[in-house]
Amino acid sequence: MSSLDDLYRRVIMDHYQRPRNRGEMDQDSVTINLNNPTCGDRIQLQLKVEDGIIKDVKFIGEGCSISMSSASMMTEAVKGGTVEDALRMADLFSRLMQGEEIDDEDLDIGDIEALAGVSKFPARIKCATLAWKALQQGVHDSAE
């Protein structure tokens, strides 16, 4: 597989075209707006956290296939799980972007591993991490 094919895996394009958890919530949610000032990608992430569980998560945004598919995958991975696991996944994702192997983890990150190819494109890492940054900030804000 060429590194380009590795970047644009089919599962990534699937999330890009059919994003999961795309939309807005109206009640009891924390809303985070983040953007990549250098390239114009933007995301609005909403989180509903109860008793340490992420009950619901939704996003809307504009951006490239990497940023939007990463957001879709992230929501799928963290929804219904604990805040603690979500933060561990965020940390794991950041290591994945630095090109680390992550097989030893006990977390089920689902489709996310497909984004590992991004680590070979330094200019695109920011695209992939945008949604996770929003998640970290949202969890932080929920705790307040």
């Binding site: 060429s2 590194s3 380009l4 970047l7 644009y8 089919r10 394009m13 075209q17 250098t38 390239c39 114009g40 990608d41 933007r42 504009e62 951006g63 490239c64 296939s65 990497i66 940023s67 494109f121 200019a123 695109r124 695209c127």
Partner: protein, 408 residues
């Protein structure tokens, strides 16, 4: 003029990137540097390096001569009346901020107006926006035509007797629009307003004559015109520079320092606090020599021909949207069907083709165009029709690539 020979003078362009010959189409972001510029900087550090305007020793004299010699080259390049009107800065951004801070913030007040357009680069937008906020002046915009140009009718309607400052790009970094600066300056002056020009995309590509344009300030960067990064120019008419306060205080810019007050050096050094960017100025001087050896008219003619060819070839690519007017400077901003510009730029990069993707530091314009981002191919003296053919080929491959992924 032989483009192949010119291109051969740019060492960086002869390399392979991602297994393909480099096709550099991002000169509006920063241009590449010819060997003459690289060697001039090298020579300066090897033989002359010293601080300027203070050394009694010989190296100090050589460095000062080289630095002030570069200023004279810039003066000639923009046809300023005297070198006192040429201030070396860090780049266009600093130059425009100097005008906003040392002129607009000092002399404007509530009820005054600052006029620009929504298609400016952020560096010719935010300094005025913030100066308006601080002074209470009104921030106004000349409306745009659907093709991203301005009409002189609208300029006349927007500039009033309350307008104290007008600042507009010579050439848009997104649409390539060349604004009628001379005519706008005339209208501004008829109302007693000061005319400032962001020439970051103008000076590298067109002949700039500040006396003919009759602008009061003009800003540009060295790195977009074959020179090094970190050096730029602010041209200002003496009468304005004289009454402005210094931008930075410290060494190099003072006359007498007393305990409770100080006086400033004469122009242009009043605005050059601290050890200046000496090697950068030397490099810019070499870049000016390089451009003038070719001739600015030749450069303009070459780019016009190239952009004409690019518009023709790109228009034939199905699903491609081009933004901006037909008549333009050497750049083309576009989107390709549903492919996001970042994805497009990544695929092109895998073929060694460097284009810019994003909002090009012009968020208000992106909003007006109703896009979140675009791709941009920009040309300079070393680009050829083959580069544009490579771009078109790359775009077709990108379409094919994402077509397969999307359909698969």
């Amino acid at each position: 003029m032989n483009i192949k020979e010119i291109k051969a003078q740019f060492p960086i362009l002869s390399q392979q990137v991602n297994g393909h010959p480099l096709v550099y189409l991002d000169s509006a972001a920063t241009s590449q540097k010819p060997i003459q510029v690289i060697e001039a900087i090298d020579e300066y550090y090897k033989k002359m390096n010293s601080n300027v305007h203070r050394g009694v020793h010989t190296l100090g004299t050589w460095a000062t001569d080289a630095y002030e010699g570069a200023r004279e080259k810039v003066r000639k390049f923009v046809n300023a009346k005297e070198t006192a009107e040429i201030i070396f800065t860090r780049g266009t951004t600093t130059s425009l901020n100097m005008v906003a801070t040392c002129y607009a913030r000092e002399f404007l007040q509530e009820g005054d107006e600052i006029v620009t357009t929504i298609m400016e680069h952020h560096s010719n937008f935010i300094p005025w926006q913030q100066a308006a906020k601080v002074t209470g002046a009104t921030f106004k915009f000349i409306p745009l035509q659907p093709d991203g140009t301005v009409s002189l009718e609208d300029v006349k309607k927007t500039i009033t007797d309350k307008t104290k400052l007008v600042s507009i790009a010579y050439v848009s970094n997104v649409t390539g629009t060349i604004h009628p600066i001379k005519e706008i300056a005339e209208i501004a002056h008829a109302h007693g307003a000061v005319m400032c020009v962001d020439a970051a995309q103008g000076a590298p590509h067109l002949k700039v004559d500040v006396q003919d344009l009759d602008c009061d300030f003009l800003a540009f960067s060295g790195h977009k015109m074959a020179g090094p990064t970190g050096i730029g120019v602010l041209y200002g008419k003496r009468s304005f520079l004289e009454k402005m306060v210094p931008y930075e205080f410290g060494g190099e810019m003072i006359d007498f320092v007393e305990l409770y007050d100080s006086t400033w050096k004469e122009l242009p050094w009043k605005f050059e606090g601290g050890t200046p960017i000496i090697a950068g100025a030397v490099g810019l001087g070499a870049a000016i020599d390089f451009l003038q050896d070719i001739g600015m008219d030749e450069i303009e003619r070459h780019e016009k021909q190239l952009v004409h060819y690019a518009m023709e070839q790109l228009s034939a690519v199905e699903g491609l949207t081009i933004y901006g007017p037909k008549e333009r400077s050497g750049l083309v901003t576009f989107n390709l069907s549903d492919v996001h510009p970042h994805d497009l730029a990544t695929v092109l990069d895998s073929y060694g083709i460097a284009v810019r993707a994003g909002h090009h530091c012009a968020q208000p314009l992106m909003k007006w165009l109703q896009v979140s981002a675009t791709a941009r191919a920009s040309f300079y003296i070393y680009n050829t029709e083959e580069d544009i053919d490579a771009l078109v080929k790359g775009l077709l491959k990108t379409k094919e690539y994402f077509g397969n992924v999307f359909l698969g």
